[in-house]
């Protein structure tokens, strides 16, 4: 029993690490752009397909594929900023619809390029780390966990210690005041979109060999990310990370013991309860959103 | 006879800041009562507590001896206490007529089933009549089909009061009704308020325009730093040493 708990906990840590990468990106985009990026799950999907193309089809090293995934999806983010969100700055609902349109285009392109069927990706490593008699974790999952910790720490350093990060946080808090301070909103928007999209892309790229890659995989990812950023409080990066961990643990444990549908219901119900008790999320403030 | 409106030990704290501190005063029926004080004295906060916009930290607001503090704004309104807002808080996207029609919500309560079947003709006509009355009273009849957001500033203030008037209030709470009005408009508005008083409506107003306050009010309550300072008729208040000190002190502070 104890082994099972420990094993499930380990699985939860893995889930938490890629969920938090996606959710932090989504929060960053919402904070700076003020727009709900419905296409965020498809950015994750795009990252996974980069791995399919570069690693599985072109037989390049996995590490290169992941870096390409980060850069490619980051550039998709820049494209979205320039083509959609910048012209629709004063129209949040418009930004929502535009991101839905973009989602459909990405899905269609993936279907056309790779087909609707699940992709086979050769495992990066078959190695399994044995931590106890019945406790083990595939090395590939360890990569994801390590990558998430490194990336989120780097992001934290970037946001708290650099001038860019300061500008980013300032414009997320109050865009007008930030502009008066001489911060270029266009500049910070670009950076936020690149980082936000890139995080989703790298999460998709890292997990691609471990999950089923298909054109509609973004759906469950965006649902999870929405739950997490709501529970954490929209606009709070720390909240998003904490909520990711909490959600991953609850969901993984309930899935292990009661099944997936009950786990989904539990996750959604917990989120509703959080919203009923605190209608702006655990770490959110009332004035944004 | 019971006291019309009585404020007892009313207190509002925002975090550590005490905005209104154990305030006591009462308003007589059928009077125009002014609430004055230097900037930051807590007048608007007091207003917000009486109208149900804020829930007071402690203390009571008694209307005919019924405690209405902590009720929601629409519940306070349904007891006859209707407020206006500072600035031009209007339904800017709707026409002037529609704005005032929303003011008739309480006397002519809409009913969705009657509206679908068409059994609410009398109510609709009644509401429209009342709305026209309100527009006429405030001299807005010619502007009925204009978009409220397109009106001049003075007209917007008048429209805010017309919405309030349309609901047949016992007590009108007017938050700085004269700001943004030119002297001529102010004079007309003062006349209208006197006519309202003659019709039996009680008025409590917060205002910075001292000339208007002194010329209009029957009684004046003066606050300073959240506390009660003085009360009396316009003459008493004008010559009250504490009031002069508060205003001059404020002026010195500003300078």
């Amino acid at each position: 029993m104890l082994d099972l708990l420990a094993q499930t906990g380990l699985n939860a840590v893995y889930a938490a690490s890629y969920i938090s990468l996606v959710a932090v990106g989504l929060v960053l985009i919402f904070g700076v752009m003020g727009v709900i990026n419905f296409a965020h799950g498809e950015l994750f999907m795009a990252g996974a397909y980069v791995v399919v193309a570069v690693y599985a089809d072109m037989h390049m090293p996995f590490f290169i594929a992941v870096v390409v995934g980060l850069l490619f999806v980051g550039c998709l983010g820049l494209l979205m900023e320039r083509a959609l969100f910048r012209p629709l700055r004063d129209n949040p609902l418009g930004g929502l619809v535009a991101s839905i349109g973009f989602l459909m285009i990405l899905q269609a392109l993936a279907t056309m390029g790779f087909g609707v069927r699940m992709e086979f990706i050769p495992p990066v490593t078959q190695h399994v780390v044995q931590l106890g008699e019945n406790i083990s974790i595939p090395l590939a999952r360890v990569y994801v966990i390590v990558a998430a910790i490194v990336l989120l720490s780097a992001l934290w350093y970037f946001l708290k210690r650099t001038r860019f990060g300061w500008a980013l946080r300032a414009s997320a808090q109050d865009p007008q005041a930030a502009e008066l301070q001489g911060i270029s909103i266009a500049q910070t928007a670009k950076i936020a979109m690149f980082i936000g999209a890139g995080l989703a892309g790298i999460a998709g790229a890292l997990t691609a060999p471990l999950i089923s890659v298909n054109p509609h995989m973004g759906h469950s990812v965006i649902v999870t990310a929405f739950i997490v950023i709501i529970v954490g409080g929209v606009g709070s990066l720390e909240g998003a990370i904490i909520a990711s961990i909490a959600y991953a643990f609850v969901h993984t444990f309930v899935t292990t013991f009661y099944g997936g549908v009950i786990a989904d219901i539990t996750g959604l119900s917990l989120m509703l309860i959080v919203l009923i008790v605190k209608p702006t999320g655990l770490f959110g403030s009332a004035d944004r959103a | 006879m019971t006291q019309f409106l009585k404020v007892e030990d009313l207190t509002m704290r925002f975090g550590g800041l005490v905005a209104v501190d154990a305030l006591n005063f009462s308003v007589d029926h059928g009077t125009i009562h002014g609430l004055i004080g230097p900037n930051g004295a807590g007048k608007t906060t007091t207003f917000n507590m009486i109208s149900g916009f804020y829930k007071p930290t402690s203390g009571k607001v008694l209307l005919h001896e019924e405690d209405i503090s902590g009720l929601k704004m629409h519940e306070v309104a349904r007891r006859g206490v209707v407020r206006t807002f500072q600035h031009s808080t209007l339904f800017a996207e709707l026409t002037v007529m529609e704005n005032v029609l929303i003011g008739t919500h309480m006397p002519f309560r809409p009913n969705i089933f009657a509206a679908i079947v068409g059994w609410d003709r009398e109510d609709r006509e009644g509401a429209e009549g009342r709305a026209r009355e309100a527009l006429k009273f405030f001299g807005l009849s010619d502007l009925a089909t204009e978009r409220a957001g397109d009106l001049s500033h003075g007209h917007q203030r008048a429209l805010g009061m017309a919405i309030c008037f349309a609901s047949h209030p016992d007590l009108m709470l007017l938050d700085e009704p004269f700001t943004g009005m030119n002297p001529e408009e102010t004079r007309q508005m003062m006349d209208l308020m006197r006519r309202l008083r003659e019709a039996g409506t009680t008025i409590l107003l917060v205002e910075h325009d001292m000339q208007a306050i002194m010329g209009l009010c029957d009684r004046i309550t003066c606050m300073s730093f959240g506390k009660f300072l003085a009360e009396g008729g316009p003459k008493e208040i004008r010559n009250h040493p504490a009031v002069i000190e508060a205003y001059l002190g404020g002026a010195r502070h500003v300078a």
């Binding site: 619809v97 929405f226 919203l275 009923i276 209608p279 | 709707l94 029609l101 109510d123 309030c164």
Partner: protein, 317 residues
């Protein structure tokens, strides 16, 4: 007089319309008719300023309720449809307690979560909801005759007339509500909730009213769908469908009563008829997505703004 003639001509055109279409186009026409009701009821909710993502699931509540009532209790189909609407409205009232504590983005996602929970409950409980496979073999609308026309509900044309009649009645009611003092109060709640409240409007009650009425009509729409296709499952009312409703409303524009209807008709015809006829089967979602983006970039106030420009010009001349 001239107005009456236009309406008569419009009615005649609607009656004649299905006879010029292929069988599959007639089927699309039935779905379009039902979707017009769904998107119009959605607009009633948006009048109070809230955007929900639970609307399609609540439509599904009406569908499930009506299907189960006919199947398990033997209720006459039109009565079951009405009951489906009422049950959807009641569920909406229940949901309003947690949801109306939230606003804006939180309400959007909160409503999505509430809808997903309902959908997952359908999926999880095989008894009575049929699990992931849903309910099959739902009783069709029984055939009947009105003297000049025999309704045979295996024909889409007959169902189009039946559904069309119900939808027009529902639209008429929605129109009456919007043009009434109640509708004006919905607008007031949207534009300046504080001023409305100061005028004695119970904000919570009016938000709930709009939510319940909109949900009731969505439920009737769901029931119409269920008894037409004969089988429903949790996947029939998923987020993809909701996204379509949302985009119809926004692309059409929610400023007017006809805006969402226009969006629904234009986008459906483009997606289901034009793109299919042109042979773009594979590219359909791609082009649809591009159309969404283009319309929001170049027509930010919706398709209705074109109509408004046109009618204003003709009024001036």
């Amino acid at each position: 007089m001239r107005k009456a003639l236009i309406w008569i001509a419009f009615g005649a055109a609607l009656i004649a319309l299905p006879h010029g279409l292929s069988f599959s186009q007639q089927e699309i026409l039935v779905f379009l008719t039902i979707n017009i009701l769904v998107v119009s009821s959605y607009r009633l909710l948006t009048l109070t300023g809230e955007w929900s993502l639970a609307h399609v699931v609540i439509m599904g509540v009406g569908a499930y309720a009506s299907a189960m009532m006919t199947k398990n209790l033997g209720v006459y189909v039109p009565v079951a449809m009405l009951m489906g609407g009422i049950i959807a409205a009641l569920i909406a009232v229940v949901l309003s307690f947690p949801l109306f504590r939230m606003k804006g983005f939180y309400f959007l996602i909160g409503s999505f979560a509430a809808g997903e929970i309902i959908r997952l409950l359908w999926k999880h409980f095989r008894d009575p909801f049929g699990g992931a496979k849903g309910i099959k073999g739902i009783d069709p609308m029984p055939d009947f005759s009105i003297g000049i026309y025999d309704f045979d509900f295996f024909e889409p044309v007959s169902y189009f007339y039946f559904a069309g009649f119900i939808v027009i009645v529902c639209l008429w009611i929605l129109w009456r509500i919007e043009r009434s003092p109640v509708g004006l109060t919905f607008h007031a709640v949207h534009w300046q909730d504080k001023l409305a409240e100061a005028s004695g409007v119970n904000l919570r009650a009016y938000r709930t009213l709009a939510f319940a009425v909109a949900s009731g009509f969505a439920g009737i729409g769901g029931a119409l769908l269920a008894h037409y296709i004969g089988t429903i499952n949790p996947g029939s009312f998923d987020l993809d469908y909701m996204v379509f409703v949302l985009t119809w409303a926004i692309v059409g524009g929610t400023g007017t009563f006809y805006g969402p209807i226009l969006g629904c008709v234009v986008l459906t015809i483009l997606n289901e008829v034009v793109l299919r006829e042109l042979g773009f089967e594979q590219l359909r979602p791609l082009i649809y997505g591009a159309i969404l983006i283009a319309s929001i970039l170049f027509l930010p106030n919706g398709l209705e703004s074109i109509v408004q420009k046109f009618t204003k010009r003709s009024a001036k001349s």
